[in-house]
Every structure is written in C-alpha cells, then in structure tokens.
C-alpha cells in the first residue's frame, strides 16, 4: 500500500509541469483518442437518456402519430398504477431472496476451492462454468429440469416419496424457482472475486496466528473474513445493481407469470413501451427505477465509504 500511495503522490505532482511545457495541440491529442467512444456514448447513451426524460412528459407512442405534452400526468398515473408497485415489489423481492445465497455460497465455494489442493482446478472450473452460459441456454435447461411429470427435479422428488412441485406454474414457488436458477447461473462470478481476494491475503498472517495457537475457525473469523470485507462490499453492490435490473431469466422462464406473480419492473416497462406502444409512460416508470438505483448506489457509497480505509 505504501508503494501505491507514493505513486499517487508523484503522479499528482507531475501534470503541472508537463501541461505548462507542452503545446496545446498535443494536450488536445488525448481528446482524439476518446472521441470515438465519446461519440458512441453520447449517441447511444446520453441522447436516449435525455429523450427518455423528455418523452416522459408526453404521451409519445412507439407507433408514431402526434404526441401531446402531458406535464406530470405520466408520473401521476404511475403513482396510481398498481402494476407498477407490484412489479417493483417483485424486483425487490427477487433482490432480497437472491443476494444472500449469491454472496454466502460464493464465499463458501471460494473457501473450499482455495483449500482444496488436488481438486482445486476442478472446483474452480465447475463453480465458474455455469456463468459462461448465455441466459437462453440456462433458462432452457432449467425449464426442463422444473417440468412437472418428467422433469429431473420432480422425478427425483417423487422417487424419494415427496409430491411434485409445480415450480414455474405455482404462484407461491415460481419466484423461488427463478432465484435458484439465478444462483446456479451467476454465483460463479462472486466465487471468482472471493477466490482472488483470498489469494491476496498474506500468508504471514496465518503463520503468525498458527504460532499463537489459534484454531482454523478463529483464523477464518479473525483473519479471513475481515480481510475480505472490501470484496464483500463490492460484491453486494454489484449484486444489488444486477438484481434490480433482473429481466431476462424471468421473461424467458415464466414470462412474468403465473398471474404476473414474478413480473419484474423492467418487464412492466418493456410491456408498457413495446407491447402497448406507450413509450411516454414507460419512460416515466424507467425514471422512477433510475432514481431508485441512484439512491441505492449513494447509500452503498455511504455504507462502504473510502476505498483505502481497510488498507491504511
């Protein structure tokens, strides 16, 4: 860490010298490098974000035609529309259900793979493999696994004398089924982050602890977990943001059903905008979600503030 800060100091001092001596032209040279990206970013990111905000005040239709200025009507309709709030709740419910297993399982898997000597490569491969599959393949596999009558899971349940579960067609379990699939699919990424962090913990700490006669549980509790704190913070932030934008696996597995019980907010935005052509109203809902994600992100920064804190 000391090296790191030293570099920062020198680099902070450097620019004031160079900017004074270098000609204007080559200082602008950097601009040319970022220009292609800036253009693409402005065209496909900034511009749609602004037009989205603009159209949220109009009854813009995807099917063309004239649009009228509505003021805040779209936002008022949003407040009154139950479907907005129930689908937002489904997104939050998905986040609440999926984040703990994704973080804890990732950690447990990383601890196992880190410890395993001969099987380490196999565990690393097996744990991470599902993550490289595209969402369409993952959902296709799991839809067949969940199938009543002949699906693998229900077949296993009936073989051990339990009754079948209508995984994707029962309102009470459909969300859990989706969380299970998501966990299997994406836990590998958290596993990888944890594993990298584990490998960065200095061995001396454990050696010193062993010399002092601490048990392996004490080492886990007092060395490993505290040293992983920053990684955990990072994983939770990434996880929350990923979960708030859940859409693909739900859309592919249940289409938001049964009876809209798994429909996330993004799907409602999609349906409003693209099935019902109401881009204006859909934009208003997206802005609400945008605001929510900003609030969550700010809260995260407040909870896990300085980057250097744990190292200093």
């Amino acid at each position: 860490m000391a090296v790191h800060t030293a570099v920062r100091q020198t680099s902070a001092a450097a620019p004031s010298d160079t900017t004074r001596t270098q000609p204007l032209l080559s200082r602008l040279g950097g601009l040319w490098f970022v220009l292609p990206f800036v253009i693409v970013y402005a065209l496909f990111m900034v511009w749609p974000v602004l037009t989205g905000l603009w159209s949220s005040f109009f009854n813009t239709s995807l099917a063309g035609g004239d649009s009228e200025f509505l003021g805040l009507d779209n936002y008022l309709e949003m407040v009154r529309d139950d479907a907005v709030w129930t689908s937002l709740w489904h997104t939050i419910l998905f986040t609440l259900l999926s984040t703990p297993p994704l973080v804890l399982l990732g950690l447990v898997m990383a601890l196992l793979a880190h410890r395993a000597r001969r099987l380490g490569w196999f565990l690393r491969f097996a744990y991470f493999a599902p993550f490289v599959l595209p969402v369409t393949v993952v959902t296709l596999i799991w839809i067949w696994l969940y199938q009543p009558g002949f699906g693998l899971i229900n077949d296993a349940l009936t073989r051990i004398g339990l009754s079948e579960v209508a995984w994707l067609t029962d309102e009470r379990v459909a969300m859990i089924a989706i969380v299970l699939t998501t966990t299997w699919w994406t836990v590998g990424f958290n596993f990888l982050l944890y594993l990298a962090a584990l490998q960065a913990i200095p061995r001396e700490l454990y050696e010193a602890a062993s010399v002092d006669g601490s048990s392996s549980f004490q080492q886990l509790w007092h060395i490993t977990l505290p040293m992983l704190r920053r990684t955990t913070g990072l994983i939770i932030v990434l996880q929350l943001i990923a979960s708030l934008k859940v859409f693909d696996q739900v859309y592919l597995m249940t289409g938001g059903g049964p009876n809209f019980s798994t429909r996330p907010i993004i799907q409602y935005i999609y349906e409003t905008g693209f099935t019902s052509y109401r881009i204006g109203f859909a934009s208003a809902i997206s802005y609400m979600l945008f605001a929510l994600i900003v609030v969550v992100s700010i809260a995260q920064f407040k909870l896990f503030p300085a980057r250097e804190e744990s190292a200093s």
Binding site: S61, L62, G64, G65, E171, E271
Partner: protein, 439 residues
C-alpha cells in the same frame, strides 16, 4: 518508424480521420449495393412463423422465388408475438416498411388502418383472382375498414379439440368410422374426460395454463354463452358477470374439482402431455398437427365441443397479408407482392397441411384439401371462429390476452376463484379502456 519527428497529435488525428473515412465508406457502399439491387422489382416480406408452419412457409416461398427470377424477393421471419408487432408498427410509423407483411386479423383494429397500413388496390387484386366472393363474408368484412380493404386472409386457425384415437376407442367414444362421437354439454364432456383419465392414469384433457391459452379457452366458452366484452362503439365495458363466471366455473371444474385437467402446465408441457399419452384430449390451436404426425401419435382432430349446448363457436384468428405503410410506394413492387399473395392463396392446401384452415374458398372446396385428414375435419370451425373484440389493446399476443390469461390461468391453478379472476380481469380491462389509444 518514419515519423519520429512528427508531433504525436497529428499522426493520431490522421489515423482517426482515416478510420472515420473507412467507416463512412463502408456505410456508403452498403447503401449503394442496396440501391443497385433495387433496380429489380423488389419485395421484402416480414412474417412471424417460427415453428412448424415457418418451415412450410419457407418451402412455399422458395418455390415462388424459383418460379419468379425477375423478382428480388426477401422473406424475413421475426420472433412471434409482441416483438414482431412492435417492429412492424415502428417500420410502418417511419414509412419505410417492407412491401408485404403478415398480421393477425384480430390485430387489425389496433394497427391504425390508414396510417400504419395502406389499403389494397382492389382492381389489381381482381386481376389476380382475389375477390370478395372467394372468402367467407364475415372474415372479409373484418378485413375491411371504412370501405377499404386492409387485409387479405390466408387462413383461419381455430381453437380445436385433439383426441387420442386409441384411448377414445378403448372407452367407447368412437363411431364406426373411428371418429369421435360429438360430445356436448358440460356433464357429458366431464364424464368423457373422467373416463379418459381412468385409462391414462394422469389427465383426461391436456391444456396450457400459461401463455395465452387460458384466454383462448375462456373466450371460446364465453362466446358459446353469447357473452360480449364491449359495446358497439368499443368504448364501454359490458362484461357479463353471470356468463363470465359460468365459463370460469367450468375451467375450475376441469382442473380443481374433477382434476381431469392440469392445475399448472406451460405450453410445451401441454403438448407433451398429449403426445406421450398422459392425456386423451388436448385443447389447442390446430397448428400442432405436424408435431403429432411426426411423433406418430395415434390422434385425430375435430371442432371444439359444444360445451353449453347451443353453439360450436370457438376462439380463433386469421393470418392475413397486409401492406404496411410506405411513404413512397412503388406500384411495380406492390404488384409483385400481390402476385406472391395470389400464389400463396392458390397453393394454400400446402399451408393447410400445417393445421390452418385455408381462407381461399376454391382451395377449401378442392378435393385435395378435403382428402387432407385430420386437417379438413374441423374446416367448419372457420365459420364459427370468434376473433378478439375490435379494440386497440386486443388481438394476438396483446395486453388484453395476457391480462386474461394471467387471471384465468390462476383459476386452473386454484389460486384465484372464478369471482376473483373475473374481478381482476374486469379491473384490467377497465384500465385499458381508460387509457387513450397510443395508435
């Protein structure tokens, strides 16, 4: 390493300028290639047939392309349902749509005929043998808006009854010609399904409780009871409480009380349950015929039963050809598109093999079609077919269909009582009705 003395900024700039030039060049050359082909008569055709009927459509289209080398014909298949309709609407809104496209007739009202769709030139159609007298009057009328023709029906695809011949013979439901004896009335149907379940050991009738199947079943039942959803003007909700509930009670009876139908099954499961003999009957559209023929299921098909003893009405829809709006319509291209339409209609017996009832009456009356079994068994269903009501939010894969299917699918699952389902659907419809049409 020549330009060691050149300032970096300049060389970077020239590099970037060069790159930009190349990119622009690629863009331009792509445009010109497109324009050059444009010298030939050009037809771009969008459709949404991705399943078994898609393969059939491609075969027929390829045959047409081979016979007409003078036409540059490009068919594009897009994802079925909402994605397709969104893309088509957007292309038509911009006035740069393909020459020809497929549309479900139930969607016509919500597709702003006159703005998103262009009317067909009747004189040109007449020259090609496409005239009103060669179609069912009800269907033709639905294709006409304000005196202009906006759609040419290719087929009608009704909701029908599939039955397993072996199982039905075992329980004595077949006549001497191995045809299902007509079943009618709720009790007779339930009795047949209970008998069938005794043989299969699992289900009597297979159906899907997901996608839009619950809407199809409910609308069939509700229309058999003469139920209406909207008044003539399409602005007032007149959903009939009693009839709506009676239809839902029957659905509940199937899944919950008698347990002859599944509580929860998605579309693939519904098809699989029938094909592997877990159920003796299947409620579905006619388009799965090829699936079961390929799998050599001993099956046949007939019109949807007369459940309440007064009519054989059944939910259904028509695939139609439409002319999406083009700002600068080229009539040579349009004529080529219409020649393709005429070709498809005249050869629609091949299309009918996939389970759709042809709309073109000369084909329906041809011996070739009548010999096509089991497809011709339910041809009369086309006369009784019930399209979605004519409002902007209805039609194939529409918001109304998904609202209905959500609420009514839960009746099969037992999580909604018929009353709760009807109230939920009524609320959803009223909300849609209160929303100003975005088209």
């Amino acid at each position: 390493m020549r330009p060691t003395h050149t300032p970096y900024g300049l060389s970077r700039r020239s590099l970037l300028a060069g790159t930009a030039g190349i990119v622009a060049g690629i863009g331009l050359s792509a445009c010109t290639a497109d324009d050059l082909i444009g010298n030939r008569t050009r037809v771009r055709y969008w459709n949404l047939f991705g399943g078994g009927d898609g393969a059939r459509m491609t075969q027929m289209t390829d045959a047409f392309i081979e016979s007409r080398p003078d036409i540059d014909f490009r068919a594009t298949t897009l994802a079925w349902g909402a994605p397709y309709y969104t893309k088509l609407a957007m292309s038509a809104a911009g006035g740069r749509a393909p020459e020809l496209a497929i549309l479900h007739l139930s969607r016509l009202g919500g597709y702003a005929p006159g703005r998103l769709l262009d009317p067909f030139p009747l004189d040109m159609l007449a020259e090609l043998g496409i005239t009103q007298d060669r179609f069912l009057p009800d269907i033709w009328n639905r294709c006409t808006v304000d005196g202009e023709l906006y759609a040419i029906p290719l087929d009608t695809h009704p909701f029908v009854l599939y039955y397993n011949v072996d199982i039905c013979r075992e329980i004595g439901l077949l006549d001497s010609n191995d045809q299902l004896i007509p079943l009618s009335g709720t009790d007779e149907l339930i009795e047949a399904f209970v008998e069938a379940r005794r043989v299969t050991g699992n289900l009597g009738v297979s159906l899907s409780t997901g996608d839009v199947s619950p809407w199809r079943l409910w609308w069939t039942l509700y229309r058999q009871l003469d139920g209406e959803l909207f008044d003539e003007s399409g602005t007032e909700l007149i959903l009939d409480e009693e009839r709506g509930l009676e239809a839902l009670e029957f659905m509940r009876r199937l899944s919950i009380e008698e347990e002859v139908a599944p509580r929860g099954a998605d579309y693939q499961a519904a098809v699989a349950n029938f094909s592997n003999g877990q159920a003796a009957f299947l409620f579905n559209g006619g388009w799965e015929v090829t699936t079961f023929q390929t799998q050599q299921v001993p099956f046949s098909m007939t019109t949807f039963p007369n459940v309440f003893g007064n009519t054989n009405r059944t939910q259904g829809d028509c695939h139609c050809f439409v002319l999406p709006h083009q700002r600068n319509r080229d009539w040579d291209n349009t004529r080529a598109a219409l020649e393709y339409v005429a070709y498809m209609l005249q050869n629609s017996v091949d299309w009918a093999a996939g389970g759709h009832v042809p709309s073109y009456l000369p084909v329906v009356e041809s011996p070739e079609y009548l010999n096509l079994t089991p497809q011709s068994h339910y041809r009369h269903a086309a006369e009784n077919v019930q399209l979605d009501p004519d409002v902007w939010f209805s039609g194939s894969a529409s918001d109304m269909e998904s609202q209905a299917s959500g609420a009514f699918g839960a009746v099969h699952a037992g999580t909604n009582t018929p009353q709760e389902a009807l109230d939920q659907f009524r609320g959803a419809l009223q909300r849609l009705l209160d929303t100003p049409s975005p088209v």
